[in-house]
Amino acid sequence: MRAMFRAQRSTSDSPSAGALSVLADEELMQLVYRGQAEAFEVIYDRHADAAFSLAYRMCGQRALAEDVVQEGFLSLWRSGAHYDRARGSVRSWVLGIVHNRAIDALRRRTVRDRGRVSGEGIEERVASPERIDVEVARRDEAREVRDALEQLPDEQSRVIELAFFGGLTHVQIASMLDTPVGTVKGRMRLGLAKMRMALGDPAEVCNEC
């Protein structure tokens, strides 16, 4: 009887999956904070592919990338109260968590383990279950960001990629490139500033993503 009561209460308290799917990420996070697994699942479905793509680009191995994404999402679920909408979109927050986890994982690995990339039959996705307009906006954004990165001088795009996707510290990059640390930092800053100009205001590029 008690189990039945709980099931009924749970059903009446929780919006249906259809109702949840139309809520904005920020509204869903309020439900996640209250412990609603169904709301968390919608957040997961919206951002897991992007999180896995980032983790795989950084780690180069499916198993490690999946561990990173799992740790990131579980940490998000268990600390939903820490999301602050003033600091950006839920997507940026999710990807920031996954990025930090991937950096931790990369820095735990030995140099010998680094760079073992691909060969696991992972293919770039060709279809998406998301709304067409959202998907189109994301593809446009992806192209703009790739273009902005490619238009940078090599020495600037290289330090940005080694830092952001390679998980290397500025000191490691300086050592690897045999370049002073101050120069590496300057290239990072100049590269990011140029990308910012090329992208306009990135917040406008993907505010809904």
Binding site: R6, S10, G35, Q36, A37, F40, E41, Y44, D45, A48, D49, A50, A51, F52, S53, L54, Y56, R57, L64, D67, V69, Q70, E71, F73, L74, W77, H99, N100, I103, A105, E124, R125, R138, A142, V145, L149, A163, F164, F165, G167, L168, T169, H170, I173, V181, G182, T183, V184, K185, G186, R189, L192, A193, M195, R196, D201, P202, A203, V205, C206
Partner: protein, 258 residues
């Protein structure tokens, strides 16, 4: 100052010089923490970080987009649902405890008032009038009080499990008949294998549907399905993918409840 303009704070050797490596994640943990504290008190660096972070936040869009596997979702959502179930059980338990405390407080207050003593004196006769009989009613009352006390004493019990793997650790948290097993520094169960949780009653391990692997850090948290009422031990063995109906290997974790 904008990031588009040169100035003392954007010199690579000045305080602004760390804004770019900070937003790219290229500082060490200690350097990051030091810079984070600096940013709290430096408006120029705060503005620099905010501007550059918008670009860093956009960088993940540049990577080829892939599909996360259904197996990954199953792993994540399995942990999430177990967490949610434990949280709900804990809330039900706490609500019951709150109601019990409120009843006891009211009973104490009533017992201390002259009117309360009069009502309590009348209560056995009223209960007898409900065709239960005075003795039976007293027995029921005692049983209810005893159950409440037992539940109140239980709270959350944390049991250090015996782990037969070097350097690994495991604890079993028991609350209101529900139990959650947390492991740390455990090795992967091996290719094509998975860890399986068992409940041992009367000397017989009973399989559960709790199958898990561990993160690269060796961590995992899993609920013990069906709770631990009447269970003497919670065990973990390494089993072939999909789990087994009877253990095929010796336990690597043993948590004794009694």
């Amino acid at each position: 100052m904008s990031v588009d303009e040169p100035g003392p704070h954007v010199d690579a050797d000045g305080c602004g010089g760390n804004a770019a490596p900070y937003v790219l994640g290229a500082l060490t943990e200690q350097e990051s923490e030091t810079f984070r504290r600096h940013v709290e008190s430096c408006a120029v660096c705060r503005e620099e970080v905010a501007a550059l972070k918008l670009v860093a936040d956009a960088l993940p869009a540049a990577v080829p987009q892939l599909h996360a596997s259904p197996e990954l979702k199953r792993r994540v959502m399995s942990s999430v649902r177990e967490d949610a179930r434990l949280r709900e059980a804990r809330e039900v338990h706490e609500a019951r405890e709150t109601r019990r405390s409120a009843r006891e407080s009211a009973r104490t207050a009533r017992a201390e008032s002259p009117l309360g003593r009069l009502l309590d004196g009348l209560r056995p006769r009223w209960q007898a009038g409900l065709a239960m009989g005075g003795v039976a009613a007293a027995a029921v009352a005692v049983a209810v009080v005893a159950l409440g006390s037992s539940s109140g004493r239980a709270g959350t019990r944390v049991i250090d499990a015996q782990v037969l793997v070097a350097h690994a650790r495991a604890t079993l948290s028991v609350s209101g008949g529900h139990a959650e097993l947390s492991v740390a520094d455990m090795p992967q169960p091996g290719a094509g294998r998975v860890y399986e949780v068992w409940r041992e009653r009367s000397g017989t391990p009973q399989p559960t549907d709790a199958l898990f692997s561990v993160t690269t850090g060796g961590n995992a948290t899993v609920s013990v399905p069906g709770g631990v009422s009447g269970v003497h031990e919670v065990l973990v063995t390494s089993e072939p993918q999909g789990g087994s109906r009877v253990p095929t290997r010796s336990p690597v974790i043993v948590a004794r409840l009694s």
